[in-house]
Each structure stands twice: as C-alpha cells, then as structure tokens.
Symmetry: C2
Subunit: 453 residues, 2 copies
Amino acid sequence: MTTQTHTAIDKAKLTEQLLAAVEARNIQQIKDLFSHLVEEEIAEILESTPLKERQFLWEAVDSDRQGEILTHTNDEVTANLLESLTPHEIAGITEDLETDDIADIVQSLDSSDQQTLLASLDEVDRNAVEMALTYPEDTAGGIMSTDLISIRADVTLDVVLRYLRKLGELPESTSELFVRDREGKFVGSLKLTVLLTHDEDTLVKEVLNTRIPAIRAFTPEKEVAHFFEKNDLISAAVVNENDQIIGRITIDDVVDIIREEAEHAQMASAGLDEDQDIFAPAARAAKRRTFWLGINLLTAIFASIVIGLFDASIEKIVALAVLMPIIASMGGIAGTQTATIVIRALATGKLARSNSRSLLIKETTVGLFNGVIWAALTGMAVLFWFDDAALSMIFATAMLINLFAAAFAGAMIPLFLQRMKIDPALASGLMLTTVTDSLGFFVFLGLATIVLL
Amino acid sequence: MTTQTHTAIDKAKLTEQLLAAVEARNIQQIKDLFSHLVEEEIAEILESTPLKERQFLWEAVDSDRQGEILTHTNDEVTANLLESLTPHEIAGITEDLETDDIADIVQSLDSSDQQTLLASLDEVDRNAVEMALTYPEDTAGGIMSTDLISIRADVTLDVVLRYLRKLGELPESTSELFVRDREGKFVGSLKLTVLLTHDEDTLVKEVLNTRIPAIRAFTPEKEVAHFFEKNDLISAAVVNENDQIIGRITIDDVVDIIREEAEHAQMASAGLDEDQDIFAPAARAAKRRTFWLGINLLTAIFASIVIGLFDASIEKIVALAVLMPIIASMGGIAGTQTATIVIRALATGKLARSNSRSLLIKETTVGLFNGVIWAALTGMAVLFWFDDAALSMIFATAMLINLFAAAFAGAMIPLFLQRMKIDPALASGLMLTTVTDSLGFFVFLGLATIVLL
C-alpha cells in the first residue's frame, strides 16, 4: 500500500488533451482520459466545452456514468445533453440514481418524455419521484432524498447494530439514523458516533438527540442551508405535514445551495441567471441579455433627458459636458459600494428593521466623508485644469452632493426593494445608476446654470 | 416526547428585542434571549449590531460561550470583540476551543498578547496551535483541526469497536477514522458506516478505503474545497511532507470556504473586502473606499479628456453631449454581462486556454447581435427625438461598435488579468468601464466630428 496525497488535476491541460482528442475523433483516448475522472469533474468539463465538442465528448461517456454526470451539470446544460437521448435511453441511464436526482431530470424533460421515464421506474421509485415532484424544486421536499434509515426509540443499541450489519450497506453520507415513533413521526436522531461509543444495552431513547428538529418539506432551501450551517449538520430529516419522516437532506445538497445562492448575487447584478450554459447559442444568449439592456436604455435615456434640460448651458460652457461624466461615475462607484454591502447583509439575514437605521447613518456618514475628500481633491483638479474658480466650486459642490446622495440611495434602494419583495441583487444596480447619473447631471448642470449664466 | 420541527427564528424581531433590551440596559433579558440561540446565531447578531450596542451585548454573553462565538465572527469583528478583553480573559474563554480556532484567534492579537495566550495553553495544545500557526491561514494546515482518531490497518473491526467504546466520545463530525501505518503515515480511511455493517472479525485493511487520498498541509483552501465537493466528502485527513497524518478537515470548514470564495467575487467587484465589519467606524470605512474611488477618478478623468478632445464639436452640436452617456452606459452594461460570465467561469476553473477562444467567439457574437438590435432601435429613437438622419446614423454606428467592443473587452480583460496573476474579480470592472466609456465617447464624438462638421 503506498501513501497517496491529493494533487490537483491540471484541468487546463486535461481539457486541452480532450479537445485535441475530439479534433482527432479519437474516442478511445477520450474514454481513457475520462476513466481517471469522477463524474463531477466530467460534468464540469462538459459545461466548459463548446456545444459541438460537448456532444462528441458526451457520446464517449460510458452510459452507466451518464446519469450521475447529469446530476452535476446545471439545468441548461442538462437539458442540452438530454436532447440527444431517447426517452428509453434516459430511463436506462437514470435507473441507478437517487430519486431526488431522477425528479430533477424529469423536470428537464417535456411531458411525454416525463411519462415514459416515470413509467420505466419500479413502483417504489416512481412513488418517491412523484412525491419529490409535488414539492417545488427549491424547497426541502424538492432536494431531499428518500434513501434513509429510520429506527424505533424503544430498542437497544445492540438491536440497531445487528440491524445495520444485516443491511450490509448504508445510504451515502449517513452520519445518523432517524428515530421514529409508532406512526412514523420523527422523534429525534441517533448519531453513529453515539451508537459506537455507548454500551450495547442502552436503549435508543436514552441516547437520542432531540436537540435538532426535523425540517418541514415546504421549508425554502435557503432556510435549509442556514439551518445546516447554524447547527453544523451533516444530515437532517425531512417531515411531511403529519410530522412523518419522508426524506433526508445531506450536507452535499446544502453545499450546492450555498454556492448557488452566493453566485446568484454576483450574476443577478448583471441581469444574468446563475443556471445557464456558458456556451449557449449566441442568439439565445443575446435574446436573454436584450431585456436587461432595454431596461438600462430607459435609465440612460432618463439621464439624457436631464442633460437635455440644460443644453443651452452646455452650448455656452462646453467644459460642463467634459466634466459631467466624472460626477456621475464617482457617484455610481460610491453608491455601488454601499449597495453591495447592504445587499450582502440582506442576503445573509444580517439586516432587519432595527439595525438598518444604524447602517443607513453609518453609510451616509461614509458618503459625507468621501464627499468632502473628493469634492476638495477634484475641485482643485478642476481649478488647475480650467482655471475657473466658480466652475471649480460648482463642481466640488455637485461632487459632494452626489457622493452623499449615492451613499443614501445605495443603502435605501436595496432596503426598499426587499420591502417590496423584489430581489435587491437584481434591481438595485440599475435603479442606483439612474439616481447617481441623473442626480449628478442635474445638480452639476443646474448649479452651473444658476451661478454661471 | 413531542415532535419538533424546524421553524426559522424571526431574526428581525429578535434583534429588535435585543436592541430594546440594550436600550433599557436590561442584561437579564439579553441573557434570556441569548439562551435560546446557538453560538453561530449570537455571532451573526453581534456582526449585525452597531459598535456601541455590540459591546453591551458582548458583555452579556456568558464567558464560556464567548470563545465559540469568536470562531464564527469575521476577522474584523473578532478583533473588535477581543479589544475589550485582557489576555488573561482571552486565555480563559479560548481554553475549550479546537486548536485551529485558537490559532485563528491568536492571529488576531498583537504579539505580546499572543505570547500570553500561548503560554496559558497546556503543552499538547500549545504544540498544536504553534503547528497551525506555521501554515498560512488559507491552506489545509491553517484550517485543519488536530482532533482526530487514527487506527492501525492490521487490527480487526472488533478491536476498533472496543477502542471507540472505551474512548466514550468521538470528535465532532467524525464520519470516518483515519488509518495509519507504523510510522504514522496515512494509508486510507475507515468509514463509520463500513465499520457498522461489516463482520467484527474483518481486518481494517480488508475494508479500508484507499480511493480518497490525504490532503497535503500546504494545499490552498480553494483546492481543498474543490476536492471535498468533487468527492462528496465529510472529512479528509491532512498530512505533512512525510505523509504523516497531522490533522483533519471537516465539511463545515469547507462550507465556510465556499461561502467566502463566492462572496469574494461580489464584494471585490466593488473594491470591497468580504471580511469586514459592516459597522466599522465611518472614518475607517471611508478611508478604505477612498482608494477605490481614487482609481475610478483616474478612469473617469481619462474619459473626460476624450470628451475634451471634441469640445469644439459639442459646442456646435449640443445634442452630442445629451446623447453620449447613452452609448457609454449601454457599453458598460453589455461588457459587464460578458465579464461577469468570464470571471465566474475563471473562478470555478471552467475556463482554460483551450476553450477561452470559443467563449471569446461566442461572446463577441452575442455582442454583435446585441449591437445590431440596439443600434437599430436607438438609431430610430434618436431620429424621432432630434429629427436628424445623419446624427441618427452616427449614433447607431457608435452604438454598434461600442457594444461589440464591450463584449470583446468584457471577455479579454478578465482573461488578461488572470494571465497577469491579478484578481479578475477585483480589477475587471474598472478597466472595462474605462474602455467602454472612453471608446464610446471617442467613436461617437469622433464620427460626429468627421461627418457632421
């Protein structure tokens, strides 16, 4: 037995070798390369491969690994890979999957293929998949697996130990057994570590952990993730409305939720969806982004209209046109900094009505500090550049006002959107830019018109 | 025994009650409210509380919970909370923590306090903490815990079972035992589920899992997280350069890494650090953000200089000043969409030299599509607004060029930064805005100057 240690796979090199093999149409070499990889890695490689090459790679994957791979690809890539398979083939590759994963795949199919796939399952699995389908994808019921072991509270650990040995195998990531009463209701859990360290004559109910409650099937996945993190859980039981144990959620599902949740904020701020194929056809990608550009156009036109109000002033003092983007840009950055902090605090549940006032005060104070500093610095720069004291004063005043307003708007807009039940990560950026651009232009050009003309 | 299910704590309400109790200086009520919460929740509440109230709440926390709470607060908040404690008190509250957590706290102290704290530990713990301190914080060695159980391969499961029962308690989140050879070198792991389902006469080496290698102590934490996700692990062994087992990493550490990593991209794009106190004093927060605003000012001035090149044209056709922000703004949004996708693909390791060309082609095609669509639409809008066919044509052409260039720059800039070993999440946004603003102004004003004047 030799000691092995983990070495990172050189993904870049591997992807290059794979693409070379695709080019050479060398299926055997692709199969060789895939044989060194786990399913999740192959899923990642498929996601990072352009469509045509992806199809070729996909066909080189052993069919008994395709199902597992599909559980790791994102929704759009999964749908893309399923396109090339017949309903019969899909039934074949999914038969060994856990029922929650089958349910996810069923949701990517059109309804006639769904029926074919469901019909191909045995009754136990079909019932489990149909149950999973009754819960929304982003709830505990939608992500749970039905593969779990539950025991009664009034038996001894010795009975449990013999039962497990008889089973011969436990579901993956089992770290605890769930304890049910006569009616299948959840009463607590028995950690394997407790089972292993206590006397065999002990009754389950004596060492039962009742501190960690079960999760209701309709609990949103975000709350599930928070519950896991808070209690450092590896698995938790899911119960139906009658408190009966119907499934189990494990930490690897939660890791996926956390990753998606955190990525969501990043992608949403650019009007993007985190569950998309980076190699989606250009026309489809363009169509999706068009909406966002359209909304942005409206905000940009609004800012233009503000400028248009002062066209006579700009005609007389062209320096105004030269300087106005600086005020808008600085306001945009300052506001974005505040908004990013507030959006993140909201997403992690750190901001409530009680402390949002304190944060608003802090952020506007920061805005005021920044406003004073940058008004002074940029005012001097303008004086130096245009040699015009009045213009410099006006510029500095507008900068001060816009940085202060940007901080205020950067804090208020996400709070307001949250109150309105609109995703702050999605809409804050554009609303904020509308404020910082339009207000920046208005204050600067307006002051100039009053003072200089 | 009653069935319990998880209900989300109403954090908003709770924080409000706590702040009311702070205002009323009612320590007993605070203690009552805290008694219903786990340490991680108290940590979150402290992070979401303004500085003065935070100090009051912190003093109301039982000292035997303070240490555990400090392991959940972010670096800046931890340092803030530690300020109020004497080195002796810090030694008291940290004595029951795991050694990796003590090491983290040691790093938040100044060097004389560090010595006091280290001196207060018993020899075993001090050695473990000192070992943890020799590894950078963001490596496997820096996040590992030294609390683990290792066994020999040549014993029977029965011996292992009796050993565990004698121990009476296993370290938290133990899902497997690590198997070492005579010299302490890692040879594999024994899952508790395997231990429970196999015959007691079986030798450990017969059921040993050698598929999952150990992690070297200097492996970066990002790679550790990827390794866990890829293999759906709950724990993994950490070895030193001699392959000897020196520690253990568990999934809850990995969840923290994943969350931080994903949040990093969001915060970095606004020039912020994810490990900061949202209630840091305004002056300190302003100072930090000043740097970012300064860099942005340079890019904004550059754009202004570009506008300044064409001041004579603007003086003659003031509509140019009115319309120019629209072109810059649309380019900024389109470029940001592409850059966000590329930054995310780079962060998740999905983009390598081999497929970046395909992505560049796809994104510039999207840029061209969007360019054509929005050039046509906005060109018509300008025609309608200003009733000037030449101006409309120029505007549409500039829009087309800027959207195309934005997509190209949005893809190239993060790739280039990555190649230069600069964090793309941090610097892409500003560089991109410089391109889309300056180029947008230059093309539009330049074309107008050539054609209209």
